[in-house]
Point group: C2
Chain length 308, copies 2
């Protein structure tokens, strides 16, 4: 690594950390009972469980992608932040429900007790439900400074990315895959739905937030899809090569469950080459945007190369 | 009962049944995998569980209230039907999650196995998540013939009615109430959130669907709140006075759990008087609309007097 790329990587990582801190601050403010003032009651225990499930660190990659895509295309940063927070609420709901005993039955998430361990199962189910619902509230709220058209496009794209044809559908396929031993095409489909759909939405949402042309929106959707594939492949690779201390969660789980991944099918060397190819594909999609796309280019590389 | 009111009740009940059949047909069409054509996959098992949780009869009271409020105020019936279907999907998600072992642990719903009994817990959690998400999809979809402003108002009102300050928050308070023995005011608040919020939304949504004035919208919101109180009080009364065969679900559960209800606090005679007072209040709210409000007037009476 030359000192120039090392400098550039340090700048990128600071930018990612700053964005995560901004998302965290917005989540803290928005999940504070006092800030939610109107005539109704919000049970403090529910809010505490929602905070437990959302404020526990994380890279906040999805809000970062919303933010940087919007920035590249000239969007309103404050409104993009609110969309990023909505997306993070939705992502965290999915983690809370995935961790439940009836699903992955995980006790730890980022080194901390999962919501159903820290509270109880009923509270975890309801905290997830509330976060999913709140995501749509945040987008539609008057405080989110977009046109009605932009908001409706965001609601529609988010509900499709998150629903039966997206993340939730992918989770069902993933559970079924433990029994059915899917082929390569099935694995790609389920991963594109389970984890890819929200990353694709993040980039598409940045384009909607910027009021981008249909062509730019399509390009950014494709970019999100591509980094989504990278993200999952890197995840599967880390499950094989990393250890629990580095990752903050159990590793080797996929193999333990006989779960089909592309790494299990083709090996780690193939996976590393495939990650390079995906990163190149993502970079090619960004070429029309020149220097403005520098951060997203680094993001694509970061997602493929990440070590945790 | 005079033969005139008996005739009128028969007409009302036919109208309610016809509306339920219309909602059912729309749900069948919309939860059919073939109708959901685009590039993604929707797992057939997930769709089957969603159908199991939504197509099992019911009076479809919430879509009926959307429809009749919209009709009274001159709204587009086809678009109001879509909002009613969205609301019914959301209502059914809440039933699926409420029935889970970690929540009410119910094996039967309307005489049929609950979703987690017919499928499994993971599928029930995910079917609920998918139905909640789909509710927002339906509202925002191009097929729903409203202005963007109307759609955003519907998304915002629905997310608030369903979320931490509405239905989900009420469910948390309800679970806590089994331990904390809430006073009368607490019971009223939790019921207004747990069951009242969606009925209030149904009537408010009808007003939004009709592009009604702020004053009409406020009146219909209040009407919905009032019939919501009636609905819950009638439910608590039925839990004491009815039997499982008539109701299609277990009865006497509230007392068995030491759960505070207004009926437990004040007795059945008080509850019947209170139901009359609430119906009168609801009718007074409708008086500005004269004959146009005939159906909603009967709906208020029906909700208070229902025997199942």
């Amino acid at each position: 690594m030359t000192s120039e790329t090392s400098h550039s990587a340090a700048v990128f990582e600071k930018r990612l950390r700053d964005s995560a801190a901004e998302t965290q601050a917005a989540l803290v403010a928005m999940l504070n009972g006092d800030a939610l003032a109107d005539e109704t009651v919000r049970p403090s225990n529910l809010l505490a469980a929602m905070r437990h499930g959302t404020l526990n660190g994380g890279k906040r990659l999805r809000p970062f992608l919303v933010r940087e895509t919007a920035a590249m295309l000239g969007g309103n940063a404050a409104a993009a932040l609110r969309v990023g927070v909505a997306l993070e609420c939705l992502h965290c709901y999915s983690l809370i429900h995935d961790d439940l005993p009836a699903m992955d039955d995980d006790d730890l998430r980022r080194g901390q007790p999962t919501v159903h361990k820290a509270y109880d199962e009923a509270t975890a189910i309801l905290a997830g439900d509330a976060l999913l619902t709140y995501a749509f509230d945040i987008i539609a709220a008057p405080e989110t400074d977009f046109s009605d058209r932009q908001k409706i496009e965001l609601v529609l794209a988010l509900s499709r990315a998150a629903g039966m044809g997206g993340m939730v559908g992918g989770q069902v396929l993933d559970i079924e895959a433990e029994k059915t031993h899917p082929n390569e095409a099935d694995i790609v489909t389920l991963q594109a739905m389970k984890t890819g759909a929200l990353l694709r939405f993040a980039c598409e949402a940045g384009a909607i937030a910027a009021g981008a042309s249909a062509a730019d929106r399509q390009t950014m959707r494709k970019f999100g899809e591509t980094v989504g594939l990278s993200f999952q492949l890197a995840d599967d690779l880390l499950d094989v090569t990393s250890d629990a201390a580095t990752l903050g969660k159990a590793t080797g789980k996929d193999a333990g469950r006989g779960k089909g991944t592309l790494v299990a099918l083709h090996g780690t060397e193939w996976a590393e080459k495939r990650l390079d190819a995906l990163t190149e594909e993502a970079e090619n999609l960004l070429s029309p945007y020149g220097e403005k796309a520098a951060i997203l280019r680094q993001a694509a590389r970061f997602i493929a190369d990440r070590k945790s």
